[in-house]
């Protein structure tokens, strides 16, 4: 059975409300549904196969009903659909059974028949696929899972709960109502005032007040004005923008249209990384739908306001996340940042007043304008309002995307929501804010997460990457890692960043190789301060942060590398050796066979020995040595010198 697609042209705000009611009624005729996560993480774990299996089995039962039939008044016992990212990527593929909200984790294709049978025939639940918390309790819905309990979702409100490729679901959930409200009842200045009252600050890193930026642009002369959404999320360790774009693209478009109205822009760009193909596809689709329905494009909802954004595919340069470099890139030049002032709000794209807002910032706008700025301002701290999305990754139990109120402590995020460090490891530090941020030690776990507290501790909110490090992570290596990144991504225009960061990287590399000198530490600090002060753009101005913060909190690790030729975390390749304990080795020969460098000598019943001159330190021997023997270990410093005498 198929039906004519339900579609309409929304030419007045009341038509939008009418559409909302029709859509709500139609989806309510769907008595239950299986929502399979099709975010990038779950897709990587096989969720598309799970989705296909649901479709196949539901069709086999004769239950599949064309969505259009719902709009014609037909009912459906059940349906299957997909959503964007739920955030709990670690446990994917995720499936939610609505309306009960039963939350299945790590679902395989072979589990689908059992899930269907339980839900549709028996009214039961497949216990084994429910999330099990640390006390062994099974969690029935997302609300029971500790990972979600401490969260407060505004920007991610619909992520994972809606089909991102179906604008009618967005309508049913109140989509484009904020835009309609603004266009029919607010003057642009009133929008700016409302956002000012909400206290919203930019989520892209620097935390600049959004309304202030808009007001500058509104007041600036020059036509046309441009509204740009910065989707060039390049910070390693951050993926919130990608998830929002993939899971709720209409919220971003709606936010962008609101911003455009406020500043008086009719043209716009979404600057998306080429590494995010799915985000681009979803945005493209969402834009087409929004234009077709009349909530984007010419004369939006009969208001006389027109806004036509287009997608620009970023070509792979981290520095283009910086506003002025992004502008240069859209204009067709190398992504060289420009000296500010003039700020883009005054003189931006093609020399015209331009506002650039980050994805998460824009995704907050519909909520703020629909529910009132006071409600938003009630969340968070004095100077950081609302919530922030963090990408929680690294050595912890529950990795994924979380949204928390500003002012929550780092400890609550990592331990209550993230479940603490991975089994058997001990927390050492948390790296916040990517290459611009810093590493904070255990003593600062009770620090509040907001723009200003983080900055005063030598870190930064950045775009919201939170990488948890345990005792196997070497802090010197982490600092070196970030400088390798910024040095590679430096555009090369200004000397402090181009040469300074490169020289700092050389010094750090020497230290990780055991060639550091005691005076290097003071030199690093001096260079870091100079680069912070003398660089043109945000990349250089923050590049030394990872080094300065680790020097501040983990100086002893630097000293161990320099003074004792020791890497306490057993991580720096040049300072460690692999060693077979002759008392534990049972001469099983597995490491010898696996060693790609043929560096292991030994025969039956004779404890094996690693020939250090041949060893390339790939670590395969450590991986292959059976757990019951655990004869291979990494050694460093004095222990290494002592054990390898004569080797």
């Amino acid at each position: 059975m198929s039906a004519k697609q339900f579609s309409a042209r929304i030419d007045t705000p009341s038509k939008l409300t009418e559409t909302k009611e029709i859509c709500q009624a139609a989806f309510a005729r769907q008595k239950s549904r299986f929502l399979v996560c099709a975010g990038t993480g779950c897709v990587a774990m096989g969720s598309l196969q799970v989705l296909a299996e649901f479709k196949r089995l539901i069709a086999e039962r004769g239950l599949d009903v064309d969505i259009e039939l719902l709009f014609e008044g037909h009912e459906a016992k059940t349906a299957v659909s997909f959503s964007g990212c739920h955030g709990f990527c670690e446990r994917g593929p995720l499936v939610r059974f609505e309306p009960l909200g039963i939350f299945y984790t790590k679902v395989k294709k072979t589990d689908v028949a059992e899930i269907l049978e339980a839900a549709l025939d028996n009214g039961t639940v497949v216990e084994r696929l429910l999330y099990q918390d640390q006390d062994g309790n099974r969690c029935l819905t997302e609300h029971d899972v500790p990972f979600y309990k401490g969260q407060q979702r505004i920007a991610l409100e619909r992520c994972g709960a809606t089909n991102p490729e179906e604008i009618r679901e967005y309508f049913a959930q109140g989509g484009y109502q904020a835009l309609a409200k603004v266009l029919s009842a607010y003057a642009p200045e009133q929008v700016i005032e409302a956002v000012d009252n909400s206290g919203l600050r930019g989520r892209g890193g620097a935390g600049f007040p959004t309304a202030k930026k808009w007001a500058f642009c509104r007041a600036a002369s020059g036509e046309p004005k441009y509204m740009i959404c910065n989707c060039d999320e390049g910070d390693p360790g951050a993926f919130m923008d990608r998830s929002v774009l993939e899971a709720d693209p209409h919220a971003v478009l709606e936010g962008m249209a609101i911003a455009a109205y406020a500043i008086g822009a009719t043209k716009g760009y979404l600057y998306v990384r080429a590494e995010y193909p799915l985000a681009i596809a979803r945005l493209q689709k969402a834009m087409e739908q929004a234009q077709q329905w009349g909530v984007l494009g010419e004369n939006i909802m009969g208001s006389g306001f027109s806004f036509n954004p287009e997608i620009f595919h970023g070509a792979g340069a981290f520095v283009c996340g910086e506003e002025t470099a992004l502008i240069a890139s859209i204009e067709g030049w190398r992504g060289f940042p420009r000296i500010r002032p003039p700020f883009p709000a005054i003189k931006g794209l093609f020399g015209k007043p331009t506002v650039i807002n980050n994805v998460e910032t824009l995704a907050n706008l519909p909520h703020i304008l629909l529910h009132g700025e006071a409600q938003f301002a009630a969340v968070g701290t004095e100077r950081s309002k609302g919530t922030k999305v963090f990408a929680l990754t690294g050595k912890l139990r529950n990795t994924g995307l979380v949204e928390v109120p500003m002012g929550i402590t780092i400890r609550e995020v990592i331990f209550d929501i993230g479940g603490g460090t991975s089994e058997g490891t001990k927390f050492k530090a948390v790296q916040i804010g990517g290459p611009s941020g810093g590493c904070l030690p255990e003593e600062l776990l009770d620090l509040k997460v907001d723009f200003d507290s983080l900055r005063s501790a030598g870190s930064m909110m950045g775009s919201g990457g939170m990488v948890i490090l345990d005792e196997t992570s070497c802090m010197v290596d982490i600092a070196r890692y970030f400088l390798e990144f910024t040095s590679h991504e430096s555009c090369g225009q200004c000397t402090p960043c181009r040469d300074g960061v490169y020289q700092m990287l050389q010094i750090l590399t020497d230290i990780t190789c055991g060639k550091g000198r005691p005076e290097d530490l003071a030199l690093l600090e001096e260079m870091g301060r100079t680069i912070l002060a003398g660089s043109i753009c945000g990349l250089g101005k923050t590049a030394p942060n990872p080094v300065l913060s680790t020097l501040r909190y983990f100086r002893h690790e630097y000293e161990a590398h320099i003074l004792e030729q020791s890497c306490p975390s057993l991580s720096c390749k040049e300072l460690i050796a692999y060693w077979i304990d002759p008392d534990k080795c049972k001469a099983c020969g597995q490491c010898r066979k696996a060693c790609p460098a043929e560096a292991i000598i030994g025969e039956k019943k004779v404890a094996h020995v690693i020939e250090q001159s041949k060893c390339n330190k790939c670590g395969i021997c450590l991986e292959t040595c059976p757990d019951k023997f655990s004869a291979v270990s990494k050694i460093t410093g004095r222990q290494k010198d002592a054990l390898l005498v004569g080797a």
């Binding site: 990038t40 993480g41 774990m45 390693p236 080429a274 050595k395 990795t399």
Partner: protein, 160 residues
């Protein structure tokens, strides 16, 4: 695939017909040309310069600035080992080394049979599944060195 000069010219004409030849179109033009040829051949860059009235050196300067653009023939499949922070702390370096061993090439190179490119990327945004490898558009999460060979049969994860 190397193509004849005539065929290349035709392809370029096809690309150019979609643009006006303005400076601001330079990057989208280069992206479309690369999509067509798999890389940016020297001759094509010259044609792009002519079409956009931007000097050859400027076209080359812009193209080389961006990591997305390549100037040599590439392999059929692209292996990107993610070396983002989360992947780095969960063992991206040994993983990359394992790919280098398995393919017999260094990072950044293409195999002799033009089957695979191997490169490292800063972050593919799948940090929760670190370490991650992308083969063309498929993401392989929670990778281990011993699973390297399964990535070399290009297909998605079979969820059986």
């Amino acid at each position: 695939m190397p193509t004849s000069p005539e065929a290349s010219e035709q392809k370029l004409e096809h690309v150019f017909s979609r643009f006006k030849g303005e400076r601001k179109e330079l990057i989208p033009i280069l992206q479309t040309v690369q999509e067509m040829f798999g890389y940016l051949p020297e001759e094509a860059l010259k044609e792009v310069a002519r079409f956009t009235s931007v000097s050859e050196s400027q076209v080359y300067s812009t193209a080389t600035f961006y990591a997305q653009f390549h100037f040599k023939r590439r392999g059929k499949h692209n292996i990107k080992v993610c070396c983002g922070t989360a992947c780095h702390v969960r063992g991206a370096a040994p993983l990359l080394a394992a790919f280098e061993r398995e393919l017999g090439i260094e990072c950044g190179a293409t195999t002799d049979d033009f089957e695979f490119n191997l490169e490292r990327v800063a972050c593919v945004g799948s940090c929760a599944l670190a370490p991650v490898v992308m083969v063309d558009d498929s993401v392989f999460g929670l990778m281990e060195t011993k699973r390297v060979s399964e990535c070399l049969v290009p297909k998605g994860v079979d969820n059986e």
